[in-house]
């Protein structure tokens, strides 16, 4: 991958500075993995799919107002561990967005006339 492609891929994926939505799902391996390719079927991950359970969801609005959802129970899973994972995913998503902003700070002149 070229330098430009890598940068484009990264910025395109996070450059939409609108809402940030983080969801955490749990389920059985065979429900989410394509038997032919062995790849995770990401498009099946919807709260209504019935295949996976939504453990937690977080919506961070542009003004940083945040809405959280957490399941009361997680079937066959340790809810505390899953919630810890969700918190880490929220932190990671925020870091990604901040990193995009940091990257483009390089375009702002630091001294007048530079």
């Amino acid at each position: 991958m070229s330098l430009k492609d890598a940068l484009k891929k990264f910025t395109d994926s996070i450059a939409d500075l609108s809402n940030l939505e983080i969801t955490t799902y749990t389920g059985k391996l065979e429900q989410a993995v394509d038997a032919t390719t062995g790849q995770i079927k990401w498009d099946d991950f919807k709260p209504t799919s019935g295949k996976l359970s939504l453990v937690a969801a977080t919506l961070v609005r542009p003004n940083l107002n945040t809405v959280n959802f957490r399941a009361a129970v997680a079937e066959d899973a340790d809810l505390k561990s899953l919630l810890d994972l969700h918190t880490a995913a929220v932190d990671s998503a925020r870091t990604g967005r901040m990193a995009v902003i940091k990257i483009f700070m390089g375009l702002i002149p630091t001294t007048p006339g530079s």
Binding site: L3, K4, L7, T26, Q31, S81, D91, S92, A93, I103
Partner: protein, 175 residues
């Protein structure tokens, strides 16, 4: 080398992509390059070339971060984090142990730290690319600005290397 018309973000990214080519051309044009030499050594690569290698590594780090993170564990479970625009989805398949979830969180935090260091470096390079565009890629400007920033690029690169070295420490779970 592509012809660059304006000074848009696309152009700046293209300028970064052609970094090595710009430097090679600049070195051919300029006969004496004292600002590229490392004092006291003839064998070490010039500072600018070191800086370019470090820059490439930083961009690869960004690519890795953009792809997300997926780990398989000894219990047969899979934990993955996928980024897709404004969506970020974490998935736990199977029944990972508490330690396996903790190991994934550690990997994720490490990846975030590396991203943060990479972002500083890429930001610096994007600023340089902007200057090159403004100067029409004049070889003296390309080399001078790179040489001027090389110590900073190398310092940021060393921070990144330290984080990566820490990431290579074996842990109990994961691939």
């Amino acid at each position: 080398m592509r012809k660059i018309q304006g000074n848009s973000l696309e152009d700046q990214l293209a300028a970064l992509e052609d970094l090595t080519e710009h430097v090679t051309r600049a070195r051919q044009v300029l006969h004496q390059l004292p600002l590229l030499k490392v004092e006291g050594t003839d064998e070490s690569p010039p500072l600018v070339l070191q800086a370019i290698s470090i820059a490439q590594a930083a961009v690869e780090q960004l690519e890795e971060f953009a792809s997300g993170l997926e780990r398989s564990y000894p219990t047969g479970s899979v934990i993955a984090l996928k980024r897709d625009g404004q969506l970020c989805r974490a998935t736990v398949l199977g029944n990972p142990s508490e330690e396996e979830v903790a190991a994934f969180i550690t990997d994720l935090k490490r990846s975030d730290e590396q991203l943060w260091e990479s972002a500083a470096l890429v930001s610096l390079l994007l600023g340089l690319a902007s200057k090159w565009l403004a100067a029409g890629f004049a070889p003296p400007v390309v080399l001078h600005t790179l040489a001027e920033s090389a110590p900073q690029v190398i310092a940021l690169g060393m921070d990144l290397s330290r984080l990566q070295a820490r990431g290579q420490t074996p842990h109990s779970a994961g691939l």
